[in-house]
C-alpha cells in the first residue's frame, strides 16, 4: 500500500512521464502472463511426449519450437506496443 502512494505521488508530480512509464509497464506486464503459462504448457506436454516415446523426440522437438514461436509472438506484440506508446 505504501507503494501505491509512491506511485500516485510520482504520477501527480510529473503526469506525462510518470503515467507513460506506468502504462508501458502495465502493457508489457499484462502481455507476458498468458504466453508465460502457454509456453510452460507446450514444453511440459512436449517433455511428456518425449518421455513416453523416445523415438519421436526429433519430431516432437521440432513441433515444440513451432509452438513456442507462436505463443511467444503474443508476448512480443505487447513488448513492441510498450515501445510505441509515446509520452
Amino acid at each position: 500500500m505504501a507503494m501505491l502512494h509512491l506511485l500516485l505521488a510520482a504520477a501527480a508530480a510529473d503526469p506525462t512521464k510518470g503515467l507513460t512509464a506506468i502504462g508501458r509497464g502495465i502493457v508489457y506486464g499484462g502481455a507476458a502472463i498468458g504466453p508465460g503459462i502457454g509456453i510452460g504448457l507446450v514444453v511440459g506436454n512436449a517433455i511428456t511426449a518425449m518421455a513416453r516415446q523416445p523415438e519421436s523426440a526429433g519430431t516432437v522437438r521440432t513441433t515444440m519450437f513451432l509452438g513456442i514461436a507462436f505463443t511467444e509472438a503474443l508476448a512480443l506484440f505487447g513488448f513492441v506496443l510498450a515501445f510505441i506508446i509515446s509520452g
Partner: protein, 253 residues
C-alpha cells in the same frame, strides 16, 4: 539520455530511417554482408559437385545446410511436393541467420533485423507466395472458401468464424511473422546493451566494482543465449513460411 555515465539514445530512434546517400547506414551494410555471405557460401560450397564424396569445410557446411532445410523444414511440413521451394527457403534461412548472427560478432554487435524494414518485406513476400500458391492450386473461390470456413462448424456462428478466419489468415500471419523476428532481435539487442552499459557503469563508479563481475557473467550468458535465438528465429521464419505454403497446397478438409 545519460545512464550511469554512458550515453544511451532514446528508444524512439528505432523508427528513424538512416542518414547517408539513399539512407545507407549500418543496418544496410549488414544486410549487404548477409547477402554476399549467403551467395559466397553456396557458390564456393558447390564448386566440386562432380566428386562423389564431399570434401572440405565449406562444401560440407553448405551441404549440411541444404540437408537441414530439406529434412527438418520442408519434409516435416509440406512433404515431397514442397521441394520446389527448397532454393527459396534455403536462401531465406541463411540470409536471416547471417543478418542475425552479427548481433554477437565483436565490432559490429547489431542484428540487422532489429529494424522492422526487411522483416516486413520478407513477411510480405511470404504472404504473396502462400496466397499465389493457394490461388493457383485450388482456384480463387475454392481457396477463399477453404481458408475461411474450417470443417465441422455449425451454421449459426458461421459469419463470426468467417471474419475471424479471414483476419487470421490474411492479416495476422504476415504481421506476426514480422513482429516475431523484429521483436526477438530488438529485445536481445536491448538486453545485451543494458548489461554491457551496466557493467561499464558499475566499473566506472569505484564503489560498486565488486558487483560488476556478476553483471559481466550475465552478459556472457546472454550472448550465448543470443546465438541460440539468432539461429532459432531464422529457423522459425523458414518453417512457418513452409507451413503456410503447405496449408495453401493441401487444405485440411
Amino acid at each position: 539520455m545519460s545512464l550511469l555515465g554512458v550515453d544511451v539514445p532514446p528508444i524512439s530512434n528505432v523508427t528513424i530511417w538512416g542518414s547517408g546517400p539513399l539512407g545507407f547506414n549500418k543496418t544496410a551494410a549488414i544486410y549487404c554482408f548477409a547477402t554476399i555471405a549467403t551467395i559466397l557460401v553456396f557458390y564456393f560450397g558447390t564448386r566440386r559437385k562432380d566428386a562423389l564424396v564431399p570434401s572440405g569445410l565449406l562444401q560440407n557446411a553448405a551441404e549440411s545446410g541444404v540437408a537441414f532445410v530439406r529434412n527438418q523444414v520442408i519434409m516435416q511440413t509440406i512433404g515431397p511436393e514442397g521441394l520446389n521451394y527448397l532454393p527459396y527457403l534455403t536462401a531465406l534461412f541463411f540470409f536471416i541467420f547471417f543478418s542475425n548472427i552479427t548481433e554477437i560478432i565483436p565490432g559490429v554487435q547489431f542484428p540487422a533485423n532489429a529494424r522492422f524494414g526487411v522483416p516486413l518485406v520478407l513477411a510480405l513476400l511470404t504472404w504473396l507466395i502462400y496466397n499465389v500458391v493457394g490461388v493457383v492450386k485450388q482456384g480463387p473461390l475454392k481457396y477463399l472458401k477453404n481458408s475461411t470456413i474450417p470443417p465441422g462448424v455449425p451454421m449459426a456462428i458461421l459469419p463470426l468464424v468467417v471474419i475471424i478466419e479471414l483476419v487470421s489468415t490474411f492479416v495476422v500471419r504476415p504481421f506476426s511473422l514480422m513482429v516475431r523476428l523484429f521483436a526477438n532481435m530488438l529485445a536481445g539487442h536491448l538486453i545485451l546493451v543494458t548489461f554491457a552499459a551496466l557493467t561499464a557503469g558499475l566499473w566506472a563508479l569505484k564503489v560498486t566494482v565488486v558487483i560488476a563481475p556478476f553483471s559481466f557473467l550475465l552478459l556472457v550468458a546472454m550472448t550465448g543465449f543470443e546465438i541460440l535465438v539468432s539461429f532459432l528465429q531464422a529457423f522459425i521464419f523458414s518453417i512457418l513460411t513452409a507451413v503456410y505454403i503447405g496449408s495453401s497446397m493441401h487444405p485440411d478438409h
